[in-house]
Each structure stands twice: as C-alpha cells, then as structure tokens.
C-alpha cells in the first residue's frame, strides 16, 4: 500500500479527502463551540441579567415601601395618608411583579441546572424576612390607623428594621451573585471563543499548508516525468533511441514513461528493419537489372561455345586429313616448309591449348549463368503459387538431401512441436533451410551438432537452427544478409545464399534473426506468420 504505487486519481482523492476531513472537523468544532457560546450568551441575556435586574428592582421597591411607611407614620393629614397608601399599593404591585419575574426565571434556570445553592439559600432568606416584614407591616398599619404614631415608628425602627436589613442584604447579595455569574458566563464565553478561534485558526492553517504540500507533490508527480519525457523526445528526434527515464512512481505517469521507453525501443527496431529492407529492396532491383543484362551475353557465350568446339574440331580434322594425304602420296618433301612452320609455331601445344581454352570459356560461362540464376532468385523474379505445407515436413525433406553431405560428421538433433500447416512457397522455404543447414554444416570444423527446433504461438511458427560451429563476430553478423558478402574463398560461394533466404522469408511476411557467438556457434531463428 505504498502511496507512490497508487494511481494519480487515488493520490488526489487521498490528498483532497484529508483536506476535506480537516475542514469538516473545523466546521463541526466551530459549530459545537458556537453553540456553547450561544448557550452562554442565552444564559447571560435571558437569565442572569434579567434576574439581576428583577432583584435590584425588588430591592429598590421594598426599600421604597419602607420609606413610604416611614412617611406614612410621620403624616397626620388624612388625605396625604390616603395618597401614600395608594403609592404603597402601587409599590406592592411592583414588588409582586418583581417576585413573579424572578421566580419565573428561577424556574427556568433550575430546569437548566444553572441555579446555584447559594442563590437558593439567599432567596429563601429574603422570602422568610419578607414574610416577617409583611406580618410586621400589618401591625404597623393597624398602629398607624389607630394614630399610635410613635409605636408605629418604633416598630419600623426595631423589629421591621431587622427584617428589612436582612431581606435587603440578601437581595443585594443576590444581585451581586447574578452579576458575578453573568460575568463568569461572559468570561467562559470569551474563553470558549478564544480557544475555538485558536484551534480553528491552527487547523485552517494546517489545511492550507497540507493542501499546498499536496498540490506541490501532485504537480511534481506529473511535471517531473513530463520534463524527462520532453528531454527523451528531444534525444529521439536527434536519432538517439537509447533513452533512459527514471520511473519513480507506479502511477499513470510511470506507465506513460514506461510506454514511452518501450515506444522508443520499438521505433529504433522498426527503423533498423526499415533501413534493412530498403537496402534489400534496392539491391534486389539492382541485381534484377544486372542479372537480366548479363544473362544475354552469357547466353551468347554458352550457346557459342559448343558450335565453336565443333567448328574447331572440324578445322583440326581437315588439317589431319591434309597430313594423311601428304603422308599417303609421299609429299613430305614438298610440304617440308609447312612442317617447319608447324614446328616453329609449336602446333601440338596450340591444339592442346585450344581445348583447355574452350573448357575454360565453358566453365566461366556456366559459373556466370549460375550467378545470374542466383541473382534472379534473390530478386524474386520466379514466383510460383502458394501452397499449404507443413514446416516440419519441409525441414525433413531438406535434411534428406543433406544426409549424404553430413554423414557421420554432424549429428542432427530434432526438437519438433506439432505446428499447424501454413500457406507458403515450400520450394523456396526448402531453399532457405538448405542454405541455413549447409551453412551450419560448413561452420562446423570436424565433428559437431546441429539442433533444429520448431514451435508456434497464436500468431507465428518458429524454426530455429543452431550449430556449435565457429560462430561470427559482430561485424560479420551485421553483413551476412547482404548480397555478395561471403566468408568463403573466392569461387567457393556466391555470397547470395543468405540474402536470397532473407528475401524469401520477407516474401512470407516473416522474419529471420541471428544470434551468434564466436567459437560457440550460431542460431538462426525464422518466424513465419500463421496466416498469409
């Protein structure tokens, strides 16, 4: 599971997936923190602050009630007292409203579990004292109504004062508590905000760095191979096919680089083949022309040699007849001068030389005719029809002809597979096998071994002929298919055998390859396509 072996698509997916995951994380985290923040703000704005307001108003109103009670106690005017009583009713209404407001908020905060024990105790302290104060107020109003002003004032200054102080104190503390709590909540909110801000900033910066890194990495993964390919393409355009590309990753770019190298090698091979076949084709045309041109004069020579021999024989016979006539009539003295002339010319030797000369002319003509025939074969002037044949049988029939030549000197090892029949020119293939096998035989000094293998795949049939003879050097190997190239002594080979074989195999749309090592042997591999 190495990352460099994954496809570009997977790499991209992994990279962007990581970024997406980080962003989702940030998103979820901020949502969570925002909701925390929201809770705190709601708690402050909907609960603690209104509670503090209600409590401080309650404190004011209860204090004002007490002040009004004092005023009431010091007032003797009935009408004014009536007004004060109405004011006090209003204050009591407000106090009731304050208590209602507070208790409603208290219930809410109890439901949210943010109502503290301290607040609960302080509020109970207030309610207890408020009840006491109300009881005392009843007494106060009775005293006040009965015009027992001094006793009323004393009541306010003593028992009621205590309840008012404790209740008011409790309320003040409650206000402080609520303020403190809302302050704490605000601080918590700020802290939450800060930590969320810090965390999200870090993650977002991380995501940015990661995305930059991934983008860079991806660009490099694509750009580096492309640069290498560009350089390689430059080399190829200059004709240098021996390129090397450093394949780092097994992704699409790696595959591309691999195919590119492969393509360069195929291109080189194809070009070499093209050059070779062009060479062969032009040589074929040349030799076809040359063969045609030489054929006529050679025909003159060969067709003239026999009549010439006959004619010369006739001339010699005429001359012999002369000699017989001279001898018969004893005319030697009369012809002594001719006899002397014959001796001067060394006539006997001349007669012998005429025979040798004629033989020489005939042999030269025959040899020239042989070469011309070879050239015509090479240039494929004589094509007959294709037939269905079995390659194994072709090889066997060729071996039959060579049997005598190899005799005890060369061991033949056959390794034939069941190959399918193919459409071919069997006679020409026989010629190829004959040529290769006799070359093999000649490559072996003394005793040796020739191995013949046949096999096939879906497209082709293969024949391999291996000898353990003297082999070839690179220079020789590169020239063996050229016409007139031969390693044999002058007069022993035409140098056309392998070039003819090459042409025949080309005609079959096949190929012929050679592997050779000096002093170890040579292997020719012929491949012929199954379907022509």
């Amino acid at each position: 599971m190495k990352l460099s072996n994954q496809s570009l698509r997977t790499k991209q997916l992994i990279g962007f997936g990581a970024i997406l995951l980080m962003l989702i994380l940030v998103y979820l985290y901020s949502i969570k923190k925002m909701s925390d923040l929201n809770d705190e703000i709601i708690a402050v704005s909907n609960n603690w602050l209104p509670r503090a307001v209600a409590l401080s108003e309650l404190n004011n109103n209860t204090a004002n009630l007490r002040i009004s009670q004092f005023e009431h106690a010091y007032t003797f005017d009935e009408e004014k007292m009536r007004e004060q009583e109405l004011e006090m009713i209003e204050l009591i209404d407000q106090i009731t409203e304050n208590i209602d407001t507070y208790e409603k908020l208290k219930e809410e905060s109890e439901a949210q579990n943010i109502y503290t024990e301290a607040e609960k105790n302080l509020y109970r302290l207030f309610t207890d004292n408020w009840e006491v104060y109300q009881d005392l107020s009843f007494e106060f109003f009775v005293l006040s109504r009965e015009n027992k002003k001094q006793e009323a004032i004393d009541l306010l200054n003593n028992e009621a004062k205590e309840a008012a102080l404790i209740g008011g104190g409790a309320l003040e503390q409650l206000v402080n508590l609520c303020q403190q709590e809302s302050f704490d909540a605000a601080q918590r909110a700020e802290k939450t905000f800060r930590s969320a801000k810090g965390f999200t900033t870090i993650i977002i910066i991380g995501a940015i760095i990661l995305s930059l890194y991934i983008a860079r990495k991806l660009v490099n993964m694509i750009l580096r191979p492309i640069k290498q390919l560009r350089t390689a393409a430059g080399y190829i355009s200059k004709g240098d096919y021996d390129i090397y590309i450093d394949i780092e990753n097994n992704d699409e770019m790696g595959e591309l680089s691999e195919s590119f190298v492969h393509m360069a090698h195929s291109l080189e091979e194809a070009q070499n083949k093209l050059v070779q076949s062009e060479k062969m084709a032009s040589l074929g045309q040349l030799t076809a022309g040359v063969a045609h041109e030489i054929n006529n004069p050679v025909n003159f020579v060969l067709s003239n040699v026999n009549p010439l021999k006959r004619d010369i024989n006739d001339v010699i016979n005429v001359q012999k007849k002369y000699e017989e006539v001279i001898k018969y009539h004893n005319l030697e003295n009369q012809f002594a001068e001719i006899e002397k002339f014959k001796n001067d010319l060394d006539y006997e030797y001349t007669l012998n030389e005429i025979d040798k000369l004629l033989e020489g002319i005939e042999e030269g003509g025959n040899r020239t005719a042989e070469i011309v025939k070879g050239l015509r074969n090479f240039s494929r002037l004589d094509e007959s029809e294709m037939k269905i044949a079995n390659i194994n049988e072709c090889v066997d029939s060729t071996l039959m002809m060579l049997k005598n030549q190899f005799k005890n000197r060369i061991e033949i090892e056959k390794d034939f597979s069941e190959v399918p029949d193919i459409f071919c020119y069997p006679g020409k293939l026989n010629q190829v096998f004959m040529n290769l096998l006799s070359n093999a035989g000649q490559a072996i000094d003394g005793k040796g071994k020739i191995i013949i293998k046949t096999w096939n795949n879906d497209q082709s049939i293969f024949v391999s002929i291996t000898d353990d003879g003297k082999g070839m050097d690179e220079n020789t190997k590169s020239k063996i298919f050229e016409p007139f190239f031969t390693t044999k002594d002058v007069g022993e080979g035409t140098g056309l055998g392998l070039s003819i074989s090459y042409g025949i195999i080309q005609d079959h749309n096949g190929s012929i390859d050679v592997k050779s090592e000096l002093k170890k042997g040579t292997e020719f591999i012929i491949s012929l396509p199954n379907k022509q």
Binding site: E85, L86, M88, I89, I92, D93, I95, T96, I99, T127, W130, E131, Q134, D135, S137, F138, F141, V142
Partner: protein, 139 residues
C-alpha cells in the same frame, strides 16, 4: 417490645398526619355545605365578604408556616407570603384587615366553632362535630 411498638405506631401516625388531608372548616352557622377552589381563593382574598345568609365572612390563618398552611394556600394557588401581600393591599385600600393568625390547629378548630361566619383549615384527622366541613383538600 411494647415501647418499640408504641414508638413505631406514633411514627406511623406522625408520618400519616404529616401527609394528612386538609379539611376546610366553617362555623355551623354558615349555610354553604361546600365551596370550590376558586370560591376558597375569593373568600381568603377578601373578595367574597358575606355568606349566603348575610353573615360576614371571617377568615382565620395559622401563625406557623407548617405543611398544613403551605398545602392549603398552594391548593388555592398562592404562597403564604403572596397571601400576605394580597391582604396588605386590601388593608391599604381599606377593604379589610388580614385574618387573625392562630397558634395551633386546635385553636383554629375551637375558634371557628364559636365564631359566627368563621372559616378556617385544619388537618382532616382532628376535626369533630363542633364545626362543619365544607371542602377536603387531597394531596
């Protein structure tokens, strides 16, 4: 053993009495045989001042803030403290004085029995024939 049983029975009695039902009692002169929850609130708030027979309504309260008192006022939807606020308003507007607050439930029973037009509340288990029950408050 007997002592333990006695303690146990007292404990059970106490625990029953603490959860006891509350009886709203009235003087026998009161013609109404039963009152509703809202009528009770109006009676105690001073909004209903006379009985059907024309007698003035005289309400009584308990001094101590015990369960009987709390349960009674919470039944009519108020706290003892809130009732006092209501009474204070009535008093200031001259509509009437707050009720007399009695020390014990037995006091309540006897005072209600001998005051014409009186209404009060006690635990159900202590009532007797001296008063009439006009409502029973269940837990």
């Amino acid at each position: 053993m007997k002592k333990i049983l006695l303690c146990l029975s007292i404990f059970i009695l106490l625990s029953i009495s603490s959860n006891a039902q509350i009886a709203v009692i009235a003087n026998k002169s009161v013609p109404e045989s039963s009152v509703s929850k809202s009528e009770l609130l109006d009676l105690y708030s001073g909004d209903i001042k006379w009985w059907g027979n024309g007698d003035p309504v005289i309400i009584f309260d308990l001094k101590k803030n015990d369960d009987v008192k709390k349960d009674f006022y919470s039944f009519i939807g108020k706290t003892p403290s809130r009732m006092k606020t209501i009474w204070m308003k009535k008093m200031l507007s001259g509509e009437g004085d707050p009720p007399d607050a009695l020390e014990t439930e037995n006091d309540m029973l006897s005072v209600v029995a001998k005051t014409q037009g009186a209404i009060g509340f006690v635990s159900l288990d202590i009532i007797d024939n001296s008063v009439k029950t006009i409502a029973i408050i269940k837990d």
